[in-house]
């Protein structure tokens, strides 16, 4: 039998372009469900989805939760502030406890890179990585690809610029991989201190100047500036960062007139993106949130059957 035969979704790296296409096509069908009067289908009746979040998150956690509920799964949220984790329980023991409850899917967000894989090796359930440290955030990359494809009708042959703290961004890493697989030409831009060494080996073009990076591209993807990085000395001040790498209406003049602007959220208004750009006509930020739900429904649907493939 043919199909997406894989227990877990840990990274974009492990997906082939056909897998990505299957997920995006499935998400299109799921989007229809979200627009009906009765926004619920019985597909995952009797399945249990556990959302295990070791980092604060609004959109990702809510969107996985609603996605599960729309498919009739039982969804349990565990956030670390209100669980045994505060009593010092390690990931391994939490994993074993969860295993004893026989969930079908565990969605995990964790500050350490590799946490999702660590859990996946110990659980019979399918594990979906909802962000592990600076490593990967595959569902975000998939919803970004879905949003671009929906808006422009294709992915192949487009150009995208990813701007900001590339070195610490799991969104950037997953997107670079996903975009390249789907035939998008990728540029990255940011302060020298926030560009990983040898990043060009990923097949991207590197820029340290925003205006040059966003010229000729179809999509500009701004990354959230993690303000705690200032203490690490990666940039001198918010104002300085904003002046050089903040996307404002003025800076947009360097880009194509119909360029699309994306941001994974949460936004630092006035830092990496100006309010009038974030709320502007070319902004896809609200579409990204709406599509996140459809993509996560597709992932839960596909991976709920993945564990028993044979």
């Amino acid at each position: 039998m043919v199909g997406l035969i894989r227990k877990d979704l840990l990274s974009m790296q492990e997906l082939a372009s056909d897998d990505i296409r299957l997920i995006l096509d499935t998400a299109e069908s799921m989007k229809d469900v979200a627009r009906r009067d009765i926004k619920k289908v019985p597909t995952l009746r009797g399945k249990t989805v556990i959302n295990l979040f070791y980092e604060p998150s609004t959109r990702t956690r809510t969107s996985f939760e609603i996605a599960g509920k729309r498919l009739s799964a039982d969804v349990i949220n565990i956030s670390t502030s209100a669980s045994s984790v505060t009593k010092g329980e390690g990931l391994k023991d939490t994993g074993l406890t969860l295993q004893a409850m026989h969930p079908d899917i565990v969605v995990i967000r964790h500050p350490a890179a590799g946490a999702a894989e660590f859990l996946a090796r110990r659980l019979a359930a399918s594990v979906i990585n909802a962000g592990d440290g600076a490593h990967e955030h595959p569902s975000q990359a998939l919803l970004d690809l879905f949003t671009i494809r929906e808006k422009l009708g294709r992915l192949e042959g487009l150009k995208a610029a990813i701007v900001g703290d590339i070195a610490h961004s799991r969104v950037a890493r997953s997107n670079i991989d996903g975009m390249r697989k789907m035939g998008i030409e990728v540029r990255v831009a940011g302060p020298q201190t926030m560009l990983p060494r040898f990043i060009e080996r990923l097949g991207v073009e590197v820029f340290t100047n925003l205006d040059r990076a966003i010229g000729e591209v179809d999509v500009i993807m701004m990354l959230r500036l993690q303000t705690e990085r200032q203490q690490a000395g990666l940039f001198p001040s918010l104002r300085e960062y904003s002046r050089l790498f903040g996307l404002t209406a003025e800076r947009m003049k360097a880009a194509k007139p119909n360029v699309l602007v994306m941001h994974p959220g949460p936004i630092n208004r006035g830092v990496e993106i100006a309010p009038d750009v974030a709320d502007g006509p070319y902004s896809l930020i609200p579409n990204q949130v709406e599509n996140g739900l459809a993509v996560r429904m597709a992932l839960l649907y596909i991976f709920a059957g993945g564990g028993q493939a044979g």
Partner: protein
């Protein structure tokens, strides 16, 4: 690589031996014309009538019936496409999840006379799923069922209102409905391993 259950079925079917041809192109055409006439007769015309085909060959059949209805009644009958994957009761049993295709019903089904159209009626489970799916979309006045082939072996209390041909089969046999729109030719055959 990633196609799904239906693709796999087709691949399996392609490796089976053809045992007998049940319908040739003109017999399929006659069956469709007759079903269209019966639909008009049973519903006293085509007022408030909509056809909803089940992906994928049911949709092709629904379009053909709609064309006949236009010839008979002179008015256009809307055609929608329903994908029942999200309502199936065997998702735990088929291994990798089947591909979900789009449901496209660009009209309200509230208070409509809905004729569901599928190619083969077998266990009745697909039709059960289709009725659940439809009812999530609205409250039809009534639901009727039209199929090209009824091959028996029902597992649920479901029967068709309009049947192209009744074909007694064994469970080992398979019915393949080939339509020009999908397969490049019109015919119905029984195949077996």
């Amino acid at each position: 690589m990633v196609r799904g259950f239906f693709y796999a079925l087709n691949v399996m079917a392609a490796e089976l031996n053809e045992k007998a041809q049940i319908l040739d192109p003109s017999a399929i055409q006659r069956a469709i014309t007759r079903i269209a006439h019966e639909i008009v007769e049973r519903n006293n015309g085509t007022d408030n009538l909509v056809l909803i085909g089940l992906r994928s060959r049911g949709v092709d059949l629904a379009r053909r019936i709609a064309k006949e209805l236009t010839l008979i009644a002179g008015t256009e009958t809307p055609v929608g496409a329903l994908d029942v994957t999200l309502y199936r009761d065997d998702l735990d049993k088929v291994g990798p999840q089947p591909v979900v295709r789009k449901t496209e019903i660009p009209f309200s089904i509230n208070e409509k006379r809905v004729v569901l159209v599928d190619d083969v009626l077998y266990t009745g489970r697909t039709i059960r799923a289709a009725m659940d799916g439809l009812i999530d979309l609205g409250r039809p006045r009534l639901i009727q069922l039209a199929v090209l082939i009824d091959r028996g072996h029902r597992e649920l209390p479901i029967r068709a209102d309009y049947v192209g041909k009744n074909v007694p089969t064994s469970r080992e046999e398979q019915i393949q409905v080939l339509l020009t729109e999908e397969d490049g030719e019109d015919r119905v055959v029984i195949v077996e391993p």
